[in-house]
Subunit: 535 residues, 2 copies
């Protein structure tokens, strides 16, 4: 690896140029000791934001016209360039986020895996939604036109890097991979808490764009801690869609801004949720201690900073339930304190728990108190079901390693808790044979309120696959009709275009009758692709 | 047909009950003579709106649980009940809209055809987007979960009836058919200019719901001329999506309202466009007179009240171009005046043309003046390309039978006009062999700006089929990623839900391995449905 590969200049990466015009600078901070990390990063100016989107708008037609095979090669080249950064990328990410190297290595594998999965998705072309209805000039009373449709790229997409996934949901993360796969140029707003990681990965993308002959402007990275940089990106007339992973407050602010534009644009904001886990009586009674231990592991995984962290558990207030809480409390107490991503998350976590603990009838079983500057420990609180139903604050996400137990006196209360839930990324059921009746009542209720329903297990750890839905009704996301993880995420960045009565030679290749197109295609009401040969 | 079938009581239809609590009443007006038509209709009260959405929310789980076959039967029963209304439905629609009986007969056929097409779509089940990724408990380092996903209904949908399609995009129109097909209960806000048509069709739906055993609340119809009725519907917490066809102003107002809700919801507003027709030099030169005549027929079809009306034609200011304009002007002048849908449209049409005519360098070739109270004639105006580029008002839709010719001095200007266009439902190219180079430059530009690109012909007359895209970038619609015509419209009203590690018997039937499911299904990366037997 060349030294150039590990350069961090603190610049904006604007297409294949760099720019350092901003006077305001900022640094990353190591959450383990709260000390600043070199180098200084420049905050993007209005002109630099403007330039990034001008370049992206100019690149859009050329990028889409290069075709699917070239885009797939670009995605694969990004994966290879990220791998070529080697251990120093992980070390920088570790210094900026406090996440352990082992976790970051896994996250890098997920990141490059996502890029390669989208390369396969683009090559297969099924996402294009090809449809052909042949015409019939002899139809009476009116001739039937020949109509054919396929997906086109929306245009420039603004991606906001997430703090909790410095690789897999940041500069070259899932949103960027899906948007590039669709044929959309991407402008990333790096998360201000890991600017070095962002720049290293950004440079890897720029190198990949150069080596695969992409148009300048297919990718830019702008940085800056002030909200204005993000606001300018969302408001720029060339921006066609926004992808965001973060807090409800941040996501809603960007959503509102985007909807008030003269030309509104879609915002795919994944804003987290409390991810309720329903622990049904027979299942709890079978082994309350094991349940408590497994929950503690899930609640504290990644210091509770997964958007699918189980922040709410719903169970019956009986003897087995008490045993479960005791086991959970014991297991949580045994987990050592660990650094959160940054001081802001610690403030939010402690503030959220304090607000909750101040409510009447909320009981604190295990406190979150930790000594390190950005550190936290797993916390457990409980609330009676009736109080939960009456108390809006108990429904809000507390981001970090805590969970709130909702104690139900009977099944009626348990169902009322389910009915009261807002939109969720996930909802989980733990049930044994004797819980069957309750399970059958709960499944449709949870399917109405969540993007993913789990039977057993825990929602943390989102599999990247075709069938995954990482989404859900508001406030989990701003668009429940899409997913941010898995191959279906590409659908967020395309729109269908129909071609009517076109001569064969002027049609996009995929829509020509004799093109030998192997992508899934609906022709005159019948899917004509045989897929057995294409796994 | 029973007399009951033709009853118009002026009531709100709330599930299978009716309600007439509103003190405010209104009537339809015959646009041919501006006279009021009996009976009086009651405007819905806040309580009636509340009741409609309470019923819809309560009906949602039961309606979806009935399954696809029962929903298909309901859609077919609606079609049959509409046909059973016979000629009196057409006569009432004719009195309320001034649209000729022949056109309304065709529109009724499209309406029942849409309902039956969606019944087939629901039965086939391909729209469910079934995906199965089998688990692998032995995968290292982490076991692979079993993940399966499919579409679920969003919940209650509010549909606004359109004035210009009193049957095909009104109470039982495309939006209602698509939403019911998806499993969403529907509350229709009838268009205040055809309340009698709305009530007759609404009662047909209620009868169909009863005869097929649908849950009460699967359908309601509320009426009223004041914007407040629609606003309450959009703001009600139970509403999950909104479908609208109408003006930019009306659509944007509902969109804004929906996005400002505590829980924002998708609004699918189809707001029309100017539908540019590019008449390229060699094509015009080949037969300018035929072009002029064909354009006149398209511009005045349905008194210019199609959302795909060609409101803008772009051509070169040469001899052939002048001959085309002369032929178009002559043909337009020969078309007799005809009633618009209501006096408001006449005011808007005349006001829009006056605003345009007042601009410097706009030339009026044929005036719209008509004598009837709601009547209009075809109008033709022209503007030089450079003025068009400088003049925002020239880009705005004038709803009615008029077109604006943009006169280009060369190909560079013609491409600049294309590049300046806002989002459109359609864009059309008329080209001959010698226009090839210009065509190849224009196609990707138009595909970026429109939902449907036509080669030859005219955009009026939207084929209802699988491949149709009736949509396009803002301001044509508020969601370019969807269509309001054709089978793909069902996708607007569903969202995917994933089931993780579910026991086979608790999964929805379509996601079970051994279910014999014939719908398109992606299993472990391969589509496993063979469709040859299912045309």
């Amino acid at each position: 690896m060349s030294n150039q590969a590990l350069e961090m200049s603190g610049a904006q990466l604007l297409g294949d140029t760099e720019s350092r015009n901003g006077r305001d600078t900022f640094t990353a901070v190591d959450p383990c000791d709260a000390k600043a990390l070199a180098p200084q990063f420049h905050a993007a100016t209005a002109e630099e934001v403007e330039r990034a989107l001008e370049l992206a708008a100019a690149a859009h037609p050329a990028f889409e016209a290069l075709g699917r095979e070239r885009r797939a090669q670009f995605l694969e080249a990004i994966a290879a360039e990220i791998e070529a950064l080697g251990a120093p990328l992980l070390e920088r990410a570790n210094a900026e986020t406090g996440l352990p190297l082992g976790r970051l290595e896994g996250e890098r594998g997920r990141t490059t895996g996502q890029l390669r999965l989208f390369a396969r998705t683009v090559r297969a072309g099924d996402y294009l939604g090809l449809r052909i209805d042949h015409g019939d000039p002899k139809r009476s009373p009116l001739p039937k036109p020949d109509v054919r449709s396929m997906a086109h790229a929306l245009g420039p997409v603004v991606v906001f890097g997430a703090s909790n996934f410095p690789l897999a949901f940041s500069v070259a993360g899932g949103d960027t991979a899906a948007a590039l796969a669709a044929g959309c140029p991407v402008v990333v707003k790096g998360h201000p808490n890991h600017p070095g990681t962002s720049e290293l990965v950004g440079r890897a993308i720029v190198r990949a764009a150069r080596s695969t002959g992409m148009p300048a402007g297919v990718f830019s990275l702008v940085q800056g801690p002030a909200p204005e940089v993000g606001e300018m990106l969302v408001q720029h007339p060339a921006t066609r869609a926004v992808a965001f992973t973060g807090s409800l407050r941040g996501g809603r602010a960007l959503f509102d801004l985007a909807q008030r534009r003269p030309v509104p644009i879609p915002v795919f904001a994944e804003m987290g949720s409390v991810n309720p886990v329903f622990l049904l009586p027979a299942s709890v009674a079978a082994d309350p201690v094991a349940h408590g231990r497994a929950l503690a592991a899930s609640v504290t995984q990644g210091v509770g900073q997964f958007c699918t962290n189980p922040g709410l558990i719903v169970l019956r207030a009986d003897g087995a339930g008490e045993a479960l809480l005791a086991s959970l409390a014991e297991a949580l107490s045994a987990v050592p304190e660990a650094p959160l991503l940054h001081a802001g998350i610690k403030r939010g976590f402690e503030g959220g728990l304090a607000r909750l603990a101040a409510r009447e009838r909320v009981k604190v079983h295990v406190e979150a108190k930790a000594e390190g500057p950005c550190h936290a420990r797993g916390a457990l609180l409980s609330i009676p079901a009736q109080s939960f139903l009456d108390e809006p604050v108990a429904h809000e996400e507390v981001f970090g390693p805590s969970t709130l137990a909702v104690l139900c006196s009977d099944e009626r209360e348990l169902l009322a808790v389910a009915a009261s839930l807002a939109g969720q990324l996930t909802a989980t059921l733990h049930a044994a044979t004797d819980d069957r009746e309750l399970v059958q009542a709960l499944i449709p209720m949870l399917a109405q309120r969540a993007g993913r329903v789990l039977f057993g297990g825990y929602p943390t750890g989102v599999e990247v696959c075709d069938a995954m839905v990482h989404g859900g009704p508001y406030p989990a996301t701003t668009d429940s009709r899409s997913t941010s993880v898995g191959t279906n995420a590409i659908q967020r960045f395309v729109r269908p275009v129909a071609y009517q009565n076109f001569p064969e030679e002027l049609l996009p290749a995929e829509l020509r009758d004799g093109s030998g197109c192997t992508a899934l295609r609906l022709t005159d009401g019948v899917y004509d692709a045989r897929r057995e040969d294409r796994v």
